[in-house]
Amino acid sequence: MDLENTKAQMRKGILEYCILSVLSRNSCYASDIIKELKEAKVIVVEGTLYPLLTRQKNAKLLSYRWEESQQGPPRKYYELTSEGKEYLADLDNSWIELVESVNLIRTK
């Protein structure tokens, strides 16, 4: 059994939830999100984030606005839409239930 693969699979499951959670606090530029996710060791490489952001944006969970940057190209600042907020609330509940379920199994 490949431990790294299992951990990667677990990360996959929670990555979208983590992105929405980060954005629930403030609108963020992709690098800000990457920074938080890297600190939390949820992602290893930045390339993981971009397709997820595009997908969540296309699912209307996120929207973005352009802001000029002194350090490079214009930046996309992402924020949650009302649909995204509702979706995140559902995910919050699901996460709590999931943790409880897992704990229940682990501590039995």
Binding site: V45, E46, G47, P51, G72, K76
Partner: protein, 449 residues
Amino acid sequence: MDNTIKINLGGILFQIEEAAYLLLRDYLQAIDTRFRHVAGGAETIEDIESRIAEIFQSKNGAAGVISKENVVEMISIIGRPEEFDQPEIESESARYGTQRKKMYGNAFYSNRRNNRQSAGSDLSGTSKVGNAFNEVFMALGKVLNIFFRVILIIIGISLVLTGFLAMLSFVMVFLFKYPGSFSTNIDGVNLSYIPDFLNFIVPPSIVPWITVLTTIVVVLPLLALIYWGVKMIFWFKAKDGIFSLIALVIWVMSIAALSIILFNEGVGYAETAKATSSKILKELPDTLYIKSGKSISDLKYDHEISIPDDEYEIFIAEESKEIFVRTYLGFESSEDNNAVLEVRKRSTGRSRSDALLKAEALQYNFSFIGDTLYLDEYFTYPSGTKWAFDNVGATLVIPEGTVISIDNNVESMIRQHHRNYYDMDSENLKPKNRFWQLTEEGLRYCEPK
């Protein structure tokens, strides 16, 4: 130091060593390959390129030269496409998305090629214009998509309505006999009794087959029409291929079976024959009265089928299993002084002799008593005989100048175009006692003798 190349990345111009450029090119191509067929892939590629530009700028600034080490470091930050351990990428391949990716890809590589040739020029503006074009095309694509959907919905609604109304008409006319059963006087609408009439055309054992097969042949395409309409309106995909194929096979088989049955029955009407008989009316009176013998108004029938243009009327008595067909009367002037009633009976059959036998068997009665000629308004069939496009016509051949008196019922036996010719429908000319005289110009109103 290697040769350097100028490239545009994320709208920013960079100078890059050739070896670094080759590495970067391969990396970007790998990313492009990874996301090319993914919904929103073009946007993802664009975001990654912007991030690469940002990383390069943070390391060297726009004025610095990007080295191979810089590219390797950037790749370690962004990761190789195979390291993007994201959840399964949707394989949605929306056409709009594909078009957009192509545009983007072309714009990007075109820019890179241009940059190699025109090093030093400011191409960041070009990139922004390219992005603006992309946005315009995206918006245009959305508008076209909406337009396409609206057209599809309109076509879908039309198909559903057409199919539904046709089906409703079919059911109402042939199942509920509407409106024939409510109003038998409306021309053409009593075709709803054709299924009942089938019993008088083909052997009874075949009637259910014809009915079922005809229903399948008519109803299946209408159901398909409704289904396609619903699919167009709601734009859903369904695994309906096998059902469509089965339905098509059933439909084709029904048509084939129906064709065989109808062809087999149709052979029975291949030949036509006419039987003519003449009756000389001896001692023609000064005024010949023509009255109806058996009249249609006295008939007890259940249904009436009429073919208005042909003035062909069939009356069906369900209980007694009898059919009656209206007979028509015409007038001609005789070349001698004899008065003759000619009766022409016409029928169809598998052969001329068969048709002739059928024609002779048609039952039509008339009598000449005193000064009155009694004509039946209809003819009928011997028991057990099927209808075979039969027709009976009577022609009264009388010397010119003969005065005749026609009653109401007999007048209805004269075909409409003859009635028009004789001015019979003109209220001003219609004589109270219905006295007419045969002249060179046909029947004309006259005073009674």
